[in-house]
Amino acid sequence: MTEYIYDATFEGFLCCVHAHYYSGKASNILPAEDCLQASLLRTVEIKTDEEKADIVYRAIEQKISPFDLRRVYRIFLSGEKGKEMQLLEYIRLGFIKGKSISSYHGNPTVRNAELLEKKVTMEAHRLNGLIRFSVLEGEVLYARIEPDNNVLELLVPHFADRFKSSPFIIHDLRRKRALIAESGQWYISNFAIEDVECFAETEIEYRQLWKNYFDSIAIKERTNPRCQKNFMPVRYWKHLTEMQ
């Protein structure tokens, strides 16, 4: 049994799966950043090797299914600790059951995978609505998020189409990365700018108008803060204009 350390990339994780099958069973898989203390177990650092990653990638796609490959990738974007071992378990079961793996809804491994994937896709879907842009000088749209999961990439298809005629930046403060897009072209890169405060002139006015609208649309006789928080968890409020 070996504890594998990898570079926190998807390819690196796939190499851990490869090592599990060809070098020795994994007792744990950890991204390098989480591995500060030396473990008592045998620890091996896995070097990311594109060829090995590609072999596992294709194996999942062909021996399990393209659907499950997408599922594996989305779960990999999860911010949950220990996702790697849950993924490995799912992939192992997948190599046994084949493409019908996702039909075993009552199996705890499949159920866990479903729940993890749901958390990721749910957050991405939520952010489609909860992201708030500010208009900067030069008509650039800028938004800050601190999502639980690494969802930037999942936001691309929606926002790149919606705002195709204006440049925009979605800044993930937690991971210090940003999605930068203009006229349908986009890339994700490290983003370190701390203060973006060069707002367009009318920005503050529209924020006020929105808050004003937000307060006016609620029906007082129906006030229900629990219901509000259920749909819109408090951890997202920090970046919501109307909740400031």
């Binding site: 039909s103 195709k164 929105w210 129906r222």
Partner: protein
């Protein structure tokens, strides 16, 4: 700026009683400068009342020539009045939209001057938004009863969804409370919208209610007289000509609950007939909130019937997604929903001879009828059965609410409920009451309801106690 601040406040406050804020049913890529629509819809925020905000929901004006008793904007009441200018509203929509505050615009209006005048102003604002700003986002437009059919069509060509509020569950209450609106002026545009959608081969219908049926085949649709081949051909030509889509997300309506004396059965029968006749996507309910001192309405201190609204929505889901009919849910002896149990449990207890249902053998349609099982868990059950039999422990992981389902199922022949299949015993067990403490209200209500014994009268102020996940 001050001016628009005040306007927005007044016109949002007067629009907030319109329930629908959904942005679903329309899937469109950005074909202009800004905006697209997503089939599932997107919510952008939730207000303090827990309702989602996805559209900028405003009235064009709250200057009304009508005097409907239940309405905050009725002519005879002394409130601040305001109107948007079409350009001003379009600009506001775009500025909100690009900041991702909203998914689009919900534009309704009081009747200013006349229905045609009002409809023309709405059309003007929508055209500015679509053409001058090249906006491809979601638009829900309210159709003003009595507006010219040509205007209805033109508004439909700009909007994703149209709605005309039926306001009251029966014609009688409409006559009483909204004397200037007639059922004819409400149903005529509803029919026009459905007919136009059929012509364009674009009618989709509510939920899964008409699954597998071709709604756009005229032969299947009793709204239209049988047609000849000649007319069919001419319609085909017309279809090809018009590239613009007409209300791709269909139409909806809404009625106020608890302002008039209808029973739940009448409300659901009206909803069902709206679904069947006009194939509308949704019928919304709005719990009446006392806003006027009219002697015709509940007094100003009565709480809005939120629990009742909730149960009615559950029943509405049974109609649209679970294959139930209003006749199955009610009869003359039981014209109200049970305040303490969801309508599916109520139905199952009344039809206990159909249970228990074997999870590993029953059809998808039968599984959908088991309390505690929704469409997602039903689909999972059917999927897993193809590869592996379902064990009782699997059900919880599939999302089945065993607390309710256990009385009504067997799993590979084994029953997991309580000893007795007597409806009263199951009911008490579900509600966590011993047999000796039956809630007497229901004993009475089952005999009294038809004579005006409305179970909701007794529970109006205790909404929170009632809905505890049953």
């Amino acid at each position: 700026m001050k001016d628009i601040y005040e306007k927005l406040k007044i016109l949002a406050e007067s629009a907030k009683y319109d329930v629908s804020c959904s942005t679903s049913g329309s899937e469109r890529k950005n074909s202009g400068k800004i905006g697209n629509t997503v089939g599932a819809g997107i919510c952008h925020s939730w207000s303090a009342d827990g309702r989602c905000i996805s559209l900028l929901k405003v009235l064009f004006t709250n200057n009304c020539v009508y005097d409907c008793q239940y309405c905050v904007n009725r002519k005879s009441v002394d409130v601040q009045r305001a109107s948007f200018e079409p350009e001003e509203l379009a600009r506001l929509t775009i500025e909100f939209y690009r900041r991702n505050y909203i998914e689009g615009l919900f534009l309704s209006s009081a009747v200013e001057v006349s229905p045609d005048y009002t409809a023309e102003r709405i059309l003007k604002a929508l055209r500015i938004l679509r053409r001058d700003y090249d906006f491809s986002g979601y638009i829900h437009a309210k159709i003003i009863p009595g507006a010219d059919p040509r205007l209805v069509e033109l508004i439909g060509l700009e909007a994703d969804r149209l709605s005309i509020n039926i306001e009251m569950p029966t014609e009688k209450s409409l006559k009483l409370l909204a004397p200037q609106k007639t059922t004819k002026s409400i149903f005529a545009p509803m029919k026009q919208i459905t007919d136009t959608l059929i012509e364009r081969n674009a009618l989709k219908g509510p939920g899964t209610m008409f699954k597998g049926l071709e709604l756009n085949e005229k032969a299947n649709n009793y709204l239209l007289p049988a047609e000849t081949n000649a007319t069919r051909n001419s319609l085909t030509v017309k279809r090809h000509k018009s590239k613009e889509k007409f209300a791709p997300a269909g139409q909806t309506t809404q009625m106020i609950i608890g302002a008039s004396g209808e029973c739940d059965m009448q409300i659901m029968k009206t909803s069902e007939s709206l679904y069947k006749t006009f194939k509308m996507k949704r019928v919304y309910f709005s719990a009446y909130i006392p806003i006027s001192n009219s002697p015709l309405l509940p007094d100003a201190f009565s709480a809005p019937p939120l629990a009742r609204e909730h149960r009615l929505y559950q029943a509405d889901w049974l109609l649209r997604f679970y294959g139930f009919t209003a006749d199955e849910m009610f009869d003359e002896k039981n014209p109200f929903l049970d305040p303490y149990l969801d309508p599916k449990v109520t139905w199952a207890l009344r039809n206990i001879e159909r249970f228990p249902i074997e999870i590993n053998k029953a059809s998808f349609e039968d599984i959908l009828r088991i309390p505690g099982i929704g469409t997602t868990s039903a689909l999972r059950i059917v999927r897993q059965r193809r590869v592996r039999a379902i064990k009782y422990e699997d059900l919880k992981r599939m999302g089945v609410v065993l607390k309710r389902a256990k009385y009504f199922i067997t799993c590979s022949g084994k029953y997991y409920g309580i000893k007795s299949m007597a409806p009263d015993t199951i009911r008490n067990d579900l509600l966590g009451i011993g047999n000796e403490h039956q809630i007497s209200m229901f004993e009475e209500s089952s005999t009294q309801l038809t004579h005006g014994g409305n179970p909701w009268d007794n529970v109006g102020k205790r909404n929170k106690d009632i809905i505890r996940g049953n």
